[in-house]
Symmetry: D2
Subunit: 442 residues, 4 copies
């Protein structure tokens, strides 16, 4: 397989629907990194090592030196937004990065200007924008997005393009008939079906062109049969949904740890305070619903109450998000976890995470874009479950329950890379280090 992967030649365009705090932090970061002003901390593709072979071989290359990823210097940025601020203005407004850093890369940021967004306030009640596309039908809007992508590709002389959704969370709704097949979906686009959300229009446009699409929000978007089908037809990778940052990241680290030790859990209370645009959007109950569903499923999957009723049959799990302006983008979470051990004795764990939402999300945008591009070049189409590692609510094949345990997700990602490159998979068995033992049990 290794020999079949196309090289990462030429330039790669990364386009983000939504150019707020996350997208601008991502773009500013890559630019600063290319100028030697910062490092891509938090990016597993750039900073992460991967063990190859036996423990005693000490082969631990960086992932970027192991698999053929696009070079950061070859990336060109673009996107869509419902405000016409350029990236410098949007980043300054988001207040994630320090002014001195923004000044140092101001010309590059000012040069990145959004294209007009596909926007429908029905799906995001607390926002309102004026820089939006108009058209008679959703089909026409999809065509406009396709034109945007192709024009952008021509304009910047790109070899390949990837889309990563960095927009706000849309309101909660479930998949229905219009989302069943490519045919029904295209009919829906043409007759303005109210169940087709703006994010779906972007995803459709990308997949139709064979452009990989990753979804950083908990909206359905490409997690519908119609778009999975389309992705296979056009040989395009998709990945979703919802960037795994902050509290849920912490939850998918801690929960597997408790479960590993067969410690029981009575209750898990999670609260968040944040004051950015995301917090404001999620202050609306319909939009929070979408997020809540994404956040609540995590423990259910990891603990599997049905399999382990004595330990996890009665978990009371509650998640709250509170809009709290004093913290801006510095999302803070507080978790209270009620556990019980030997003979049922109770213990408590409190975790207070003073995090920065966009700082945790930005490297995920980069990694998803680079790995989706790699998958495309490797001929892998449809759902990329090995990218679950980055996502709160991983999209999987029908009938397959998602895996939320971040450590299993990591092994899946790493073993997929090893498999691609023809290296042995790692099982951590390691009995061969103990010769005599091996003789005994083989």
């Amino acid at each position: 397989m290794k020999s079949q992967i196309q090289k990462a030649e030429g330039r790669l365009g990364i386009l983000t629907p939504g150019m707020g705090a996350v997208a601008t932090t991502f773009m500013a970061g890559v630019i600063a990194i290319n100028k030697g002003l910062a490092k891509p901390i938090g990016s597993v593709s750039q900073m992460g090592n991967i063990r190859l072979g036996k423990r005693t071989e000490n082969r631990m290359p960086l992932i970027k030196d192991f698999v053929p990823l696009a070079n950061l210097k070859d990336i060109v940025f673009g996107g869509w937004d419902l405000y016409d601020d350029n990236v410098y203005q949007a980043a300054a407004h988001a207040k994630v990065l320090e002014p001195a850093m923004l000044e140092a890369i101001r010309p590059e940021l000012e040069a990145i200007k959004p294209m007009k967004a596909v926007f429908d306030r029905t799906f995001v009640k607390n926002l309102d924008g004026t820089y939006v596309k108009t058209a008679a039908t959703k089909w026409d809007l999809a065509k406009q997005v396709m034109d945007d992508i192709e024009n952008f590709k021509d304009l910047h002389d790109l070899n390949r393009v990837v889309l990563v959704w960095c927009g706000s969370t849309e309101i909660y709704f479930e998949a229905s008939e219009v989302h069943e097949t490519v045919e029904s979906f295209e009919a829906g686009l043409k007759n303005n079906d109210p169940n087709i959300a703006p994010s779906m229009i972007y995803a459709y446009a990308a997949l139709k062109l064979g452009v990989p699409f990753a979804n950083g929000a908990p909206n359905l978007t490409c997690d519908i049969p119609a778009l999975v089908e389309l992705s296979k037809q056009t040989g395009t990778p998709i990945a979703g949904k919802d960037f795994k940052t902050g509290q849920t990241l912490m939850k998918t680290i801690l929960a597997p740890g408790l479960q590993a030790r067969a410690l029981g859990v009575d209750g898990w209370f999670s609260t968040n305070i944040l004051g950015n645009r995301d917090g404001w959007v999620l202050d609306d109950p319909d939009n929070f619903k979408t997020k809540e569903v994404s956040k609540l499923g995590v423990l259910e999957d990891i603990f599997k109450p049905d399999t382990n009723p004595d330990l996890y049959g009665d978990i009371y799990h509650k998640v709250r998000i509170n809009y709290y302006p004093p913290h801006g983008d510095n999302k803070e979470s507080w978790d209270n976890i009620d556990i019980f051990g030997w003979m049922g004795y109770k213990m408590q764990i409190k975790v207070n995470f003073l995090c920065r939402d966009s700082i945790l999300a930005a490297p995920i945008v980069l990694d998803l874009a680079l790995f989706c591009d790699l998958a495309k070049r490797a001929g892998m189409s449809g759902i990329q479950e090995w990218l679950s590692f980055y996502l709160k609510s991983p999209q999987t094949a029908p009938g397959l329950r998602p895996e939320h345990d971040i450590f299993k997700q990591l092994i899946k990602l790493q073993n997929t890379l090893r498999h691609m490159m023809g290296e042995d998979l790692i099982t951590h068995l390691g009995l061969d280090y103990y010769q005599d033992l091996v003789e005994a049990i083989s």
Copy 2:
């Protein structure tokens, strides 16, 4: 191999040098469980499931139903202590378990009485006991312990015996010449070499008789060439060292999570307050040194600063233990973790663990005893690295760095069990769930 494992027939004796809070909580728990008064929460061998086969097969048996472990009803308890309290008295003194529970199993607890301990105050300054063996040489003390074990086995008509060290932490010292070979060690026993600690005498006695030995404290004990050699000679499993509970448990859960995401770490400050006998022993700087070395190594191994200097090259790691009587056995830890992400931006994580020391340690005693017994019956001798999962400072083959990441340790444990029973090892690759994808990359 599966067919070669001897069945777990007859009764298993579990003897603990040290019958304080941990050992008595372990014994009282098993007795209560056998009477239907409690459940073995926190015991992976009893409550943990293991996935077999593909994710879609839904095969998730309990480990105890998968591998041939001794039945809890067949366990007989005994041990040594420097106070002559029976287990009821010692448990009441430790104040870990509620009085009502102790009353409900009082006769069974009162029936368990310690044998006289091998004790030398040079190694544990803050304790003093009167219920101790006397002899001209350490060799004679070892003989007495061997007699104790054999008498206990006869008295209770046991099929097999296991020893688990549950005593206090001995003072810090490093391995020297006397610890090099079985020959030099036996000579040392005979001439009362000051570098042979009491815990080593127990370990020697056990291994000489082919009785498995696990070490729950950070002392060297069986982590010396002489005793590793002896364990191979007599075909006996050994496991050590230091039960992984509380703060270090949490650390080996969180650190792999941060590393998985390539998040950098500047500093990790860990403090503990506890008021039990363990806290009092560790209030002495020499004894704390042993514990500190055990606790500090954890991050070094997981983060591998040499491999990842940009992320982990400058970690400032500090661990403090404070004797604080108001909390008794309810050890509480507080961690401050300084991390950095994308472009170097700083974040903080605070973890406050209101734990119960002995409640977390008791099921480890059980699991180590049962798995060592299993290993013995499977013909596995020497260091059992697959039991690292339970240990703060795992003993490994010479030249092999220990693995502290609890999730890698768990896979190692589970894949070892799968290997023993002839099941496929799990790699989490899972590409076969995605047919078209498989075709593309195979």
Copy 3:
């Protein structure tokens, strides 16, 4: 004045409308204290000292030895509830006190049985009771309560009676015309005015009989002109409203401290988790509204944003209560306080209070009852502002802003007691300890 205070002779009845967790914990506690099984920790009247005279005099008597309070041995308990459980059953159900303690005083608790409650589900949506009074009009209900009080007094041969509201929080509404005068209120009782809540019927009944009334919930109850007028007419003390426990207690300790040092505050986020009946009632938005108003006012008063706009002009204050069954009565609060100091530099304070709601409230019931009884005997009628110390939302004279700073409240309480007993008020000036200094500035 001291000589005019009537002695505390004979028996005192304390009747609580509402006999749930708080009331039963209070009653069980006093009974246990009288039997020598417990101490009245948290009761300022019983355990608090009061400094008299100069610092060098070392006069620090207990308050109960300084002012003529009723003796705990002379208290008789009773009350009303919408369930017919006796106090033993209700306390067992509340799970606040340990079973062993309840058993030790079981006969005394079983002997206390509720009278039928005045209840109207319009005011407490999440509850429903069957043990309730029926009558054609609210006037008739008030008559029934008066009969209950007088019968109880006769039956137990009481010298005096006090009522303390320990019922649930009623829904939010503001005072209107019917609450203006005694006349309009009595007319409203007769024509079943919907703005007269059950708690007001109890308060009316008590005050009409000259029985002191204290209100432990945030409902209006006696904080309306009509009942203030009535309390003066009948020479009866009133005190309200809302027992100051848990998070608000902590807030009125910390906020004055920050203000003392002229430290600015940007935001204060407060969240609570609790799983008792109170939590369940407050899960309803209308009932939470009443509580929220009571909780939010606290910071406004202490910080006085108008007087100090540079420091407190932009506080974002948010309070959340979350029903979380795993914690039962063990209410836990978490506060994040964003402060700023010299030159505007930001700092943060996090407070995690693992409290027990009823344990904090019970001694307040006792103190309010004893001090209201003292006030009655001292001839003090109407609003007792000196009891603000115990209350989240103190009732004051019209036009007088309430004082929430717990330290000013304490001085007010103590100086009122000193004034009653003819002792010098304390000003903490203390220049006289420094002779030469006094000469200089006098």
Copy 4:
């Protein structure tokens, strides 16, 4: 008295022995404030209000508008240090203030250069400086300091001078014979008595010249009979010792709150992590001892275990300071407080204060300087107990126990100011707001 206070005419020199993080933050702040770049948050003298008259009068002037303080524009800065960095360099090194702010006032900061320090490494083991005075005797060193002060005064045409010790904590020792009288002390200076610390030499020099002296560290310094006597002889105010910031500030806020409510305390564990020069000095056990004594006394005084043995007789109080470089000047504290309430039930409070040491200390330097200058002009000499409010370990008249409760300290400070200016003292009695009540009890 009001008429006797001399006006604050002309310029005031504030000299600090020690020009590290605290002193430079203080100086930079005042300069920035005078240029309109920042506000004196945390300074009670500048930002604090004082209530005058009855609550209904709404008289709440700023303290600086109420008493005749020196104007910030009239302050001139100077000091001594053992490194010859100017204030810009020292502030940049301390990393407390942001670079952009330091640049904005760079010329003013560069103009402030230290004079050579009196330094003796015996008293501060972890520091070493080269910019130090040399002389045959301590008497000569004192003369040099006096010359420094007078030259500085002449050079800058000052009307008055104040000294505030901002140097490191000296090692622990207790007062002895040489500290008894002015005579013995001067003899000691002349014969180089080893019990005379550098800080005492500064204090002697200041007091001899009639210059007020405040001590921000826990060293004895002017808390010895000889210097108290000298301060009275020369009519000079003194105040000490140890700026009350961070954890102790929080402790003297919380402890009075718990005591107010008669809640018991079993244990109080306090730990700190900090990485500045102060942290490094306190890493030496002898220097930590001085700090520990200062920190431990606080609870003893507030809770008075002798008066309240049931509540506070068994407090286990432990304070730890850990040098932790990643945090720099951002000192962080974590407290665990074990309390008990009604019937002895246990609760816990955890406080995590993410503070900034120098940001909290800087306004205290300002206030102590301004109030000492006021006291001097008001003719108040010797110990100024009303400034205890700012100090961890207040100096008092012999035989008078210090008051640590910050709220009593605040009333003392405010009532002293009211007394100076001829206003009524505040007692918070307030019965007069309730007319009928007043009639009843007067």
